[in-house]
Symmetry: C2
Subunit: 348 residues, 2 copies
C-alpha cells in the first residue's frame, strides 16, 4: 500500500510508493524510445491493455471494445489505490495515512496522435467534458479532498514513452500545500476588500494588455506578472467560479477552442516544446465535520497553469521556492499573441 | 536592472531578468558540450576570465594571480546586482522592487576537477570556511535579508557547461517563501512545546535508526521521513544552531569530512548522479524597523538539503507541491549507509 507522509516542518504531504520501490540501478538507464503505435495501450483496438474503462464517449459500441471517441481508464501504474480506508495515524512525531485515492487517465483520441493541438476540436471538447464529469463524480467520495488534473507532454515533462494525447486525474485525501497557500492568499484579499483577487487581476490585466495572449468571450490567457518560467501561462475563466467542473456549456466550448489554438501557437513559436498543464480548482466541499469547505465560493477562482519546460530548475529554485526567469512575461506574451498557428506551421 | 516581482496569490518572489531576455530561439539549442579545461574561467592561471576576486585563500601571492587554494568571485552572469537601492514600489495591484543583491561563486579548487568528492579534504574544509565568511559579511548589508548557498552538479541539475567544482551564494533582499514556511512551521512547534522541532527530529531519528545514513560527533545525515525524491538527504548539525555561519571550528572540520564521504558514496551508489545541494539557514538578523528577526534563535535549526536528480518532476508536482517518491527513504538510507566509497569505486 502506498503511504502518505507529512513533512513536519512545512506540512507538505508526499506519496511514498512503498510497494514498488525503485533501487539505485533502476535510475541508471534512461529508456526514452517511444512505444510503437501497435503497442500503445491508449489506441483503439488495444482496449485490453488498460484496466476496464470508467467512462467513455461511445456511439452504441460495447464497453472496452473499439468504437469510442474519448475514454477514461484507471492508471496502469496508480500512485494511489481506490480501495480501503485512510487509516490516519502517527509514527512517533510524524503523521501518516494510507495512500487511498484515485488515479485515472483521460485518453483524448482513439488515434495515435501525440499533441492535443493536432486533434479535431471535438476531441478536445469531449475530453474536457469527460474530465468535468469525473471530477464531479470523485467529489462524492467522502474520503477524497482534492482533484488534481494535469497533462504531461514530452519526456522532459514526465510524459513517459507512450506518445498518445491524454491527461491524468489524481484525487487525493488531502489538499495539496500549494493549493492551500493559494486559498489562504485569496481569502486574505477577499476579507480585506470583499472582492476576488483573480477577478481584480483579470480586470487589471485586460486594461494593461501587455501580458494578455488571448481574450475570448469566456476565457483570458495571460503570462502572469510574477511568472516563474519563460512562456508560463494562465488560462482563466472570465466569470467568477471556484470549480472547474461547474463550467457552463458555452464556457467549455470556448475553453476547448482556446486550448487548441494556444497549444498550436506554443508548438509553433517554441518548436514543439515539452510542457505541463495543471488545474487549480477549489477543494471538494462534501459536508465535513467542520462544515468549513462548504463556505468557500466567493474567494477562489479556478485556473489552468501551463508551463513549457524550457529551462532547467537548479539548486536555487529547489526547496527555496525562489525562481529566476530569463524571459519577462511581457516578452513571452508578445511572441504568443502575435503568433499564428497556420503561418508558423508552414515554416516547418 | 533585474526586477523582483511578487506573486499576488501566494506571496512568492520571482527574479525577472528584464535586461538580458531570452527569446524563443534561445531555448532551442541545447549546448551541453563541456568547456575545455584551457578555457575554464575557474582554473588556476585563468583568473582574468572572472570578475575581480572578493576573497581568496592565498599563501602570499597577489590577488587575481595564480597561487591560491580557494577563490570567491562575483558571478559572470549575476542574477542580482550589488549596486543600487531596492526601490520598493507598486505596479497597480502588484509589488515590485529592483533586483538588488549579491551573486558569488565559491571556487573549491585551482585544478580542473568536477566532483567535490574527488577533492582533497583540505579544499572542502577551506571552501566551507570561505562560504561562512562570505555569509557573515553579506549579513552586514542592511538591504539584504537572506543568503542562499547552493551547489549544482551535472547539467541536469543546472550546472552549465563548466565542469569545475564550485558552489554559489545568492543574497536576496527578501526571505524566500519556502524558508518562511519552514520558519513558521518550526515556530508553531516551539510555541507549543518550547523545544526545537529539528532537535526532536534528530533524537527520534537516531533512536529509530532506519533513516540514518551517517552519524559523526557533530553531524547527522538522514533520509527525511517525507522525502520528496529518491535518495534525498538532510545534513543536520547535532548542536542546536540557527546559523550555518556560526559553526564551531570542530563542526566545520566534521562537516567537510562528512561531505567528502557522503558525496563519494552517492557517486558510487548512483553512478555519478547529477545533484543539487542547498542550505537552509536563518534569515539575516540585522536590526530592522520591527526588531522582529533579532529574536528568532531557539526555533530554527540550519541544515543542508541534498537532492540527487534521478527522476523527472512532472505536472503533478509542479505548482501543487505534492510529490510522488518511488523509493522509500528507509531503502535509500540503507543503500547509502552500507556503501563504501573505496569498494564501489574499485568496481568501476
Amino acid at each position: 500500500m502506498p503511504e502518505l507522509r507529512k513533512d513536519p516542518l512545512i506540512g507538505r504531504w508526499v506519496i511514498i510508493a512503498t510497494d514498488r520501490a525503485k533501487r539505485p540501478m533502476d535510475f541508471a538507464a534512461s529508456r526514452d524510445e517511444p512505444v510503437p503505435s501497435g503497442e500503445c495501450p491508449f489506441c483503439e483496438g488495444q482496449e485490453s491493455r488498460t484496466p476496464k474503462e470508467i467512462i467513455a464517449v461511445r456511439n452504441g459500441s460495447s464497453a472496452n471494445q473499439p468504437g469510442w471517441k474519448v475514454r477514461v481508464v484507471p492508471s496502469i501504474k496508480p500512485v494511489l489505490r481506490i480501495e480501503g480506508e485512510l487509516n490516519r495515524r502517527a509514527k512517533g512525531m510524524y503523521d501518516v495515512m494510507d495512500g487511498v485515492g484515485a488515479h485515472e487517465v483521460i485518453v483524448e483520441t482513439p488515434q495515435h496522435i501525440a499533441h492535443t493541438a493536432d486533434l479535431p476540436l471535438e476531441q478536445i471538447h469531449l475530453s474536457l467534458q469527460a474530465t468535468m464529469q469525473r471530477i464531479a463524480d470523485l467529489e462524492r467520495d467522502p474520503r477524497l479532498r482534492y482533484a488534481l488534473w494535469f497533462k504531461n507532454y514530452g519526456s522532459v515533462a514526465g510524459a513517459g514513452r507512450v506518445q498518445h494525447a491524454r491527461s491524468q486525474l489524481i484525487a487525493t485525501p488531502v489538499t495539496p500545500l500549494r493549493v492551500k497557500e493559494e486559498l489562504a492568499g485569496t481569502r486574505r484579499y477577499f476579507e480585506d476588500k470583499e472582492r476576488c483577487l483573480v477577478c481584480d487581476l483579470i480586470s487589471q490585466e485586460q486594461e494593461a494588455g501587455a501580458r494578455v495572449v488571448m481574450s475570448t468571450p469566456h476565457i483570458l490567457v495571460l503570462c502572469p506578472f510574477a511568472s516563474r518560467f519563460p512562456f508560463e501561462l494562465w488560462i482563466v475563466p472570465k466569470r467568477h467560479s471556484c470549480d472547474f467542473q461547474a463550467m457552463q456549456p458555452e464556457e467549455v466550448a470556448d475553453l476547448a477552442a482556446v486550448l487548441k489554438e494556444l497549444l498550436g501557437r506554443l508548438k509553433a513559436v517554441l518548436n514543439d516544446p515539452p510542457y505541463n498543464a495543471l488545474l487549480h480548482t477549489a477543494p471538494f466541499r462534501q459536508p465535513r465535520k467542520t462544515g468549513y469547505w462548504k463556505t468557500i465560493v466567493d474567494d477562489y477562482h479556478w485556473h489552468i497553469e501551463l508551463i513549457p519546460r524550457l529551462t532547467r530548475v537548479a539548486g536555487f529554485e529547489w526547496g527555496t521556492g525562489f525562481y529566476i526567469n530569463p524571459t519577462p512575461p511581457e516578452e513571452s506574451a508578445k511572441y504568443l499573441r502575435e503568433a499564428t498557428v497556420a503561418a508558423t506551421a508552414g515554416a516547418h
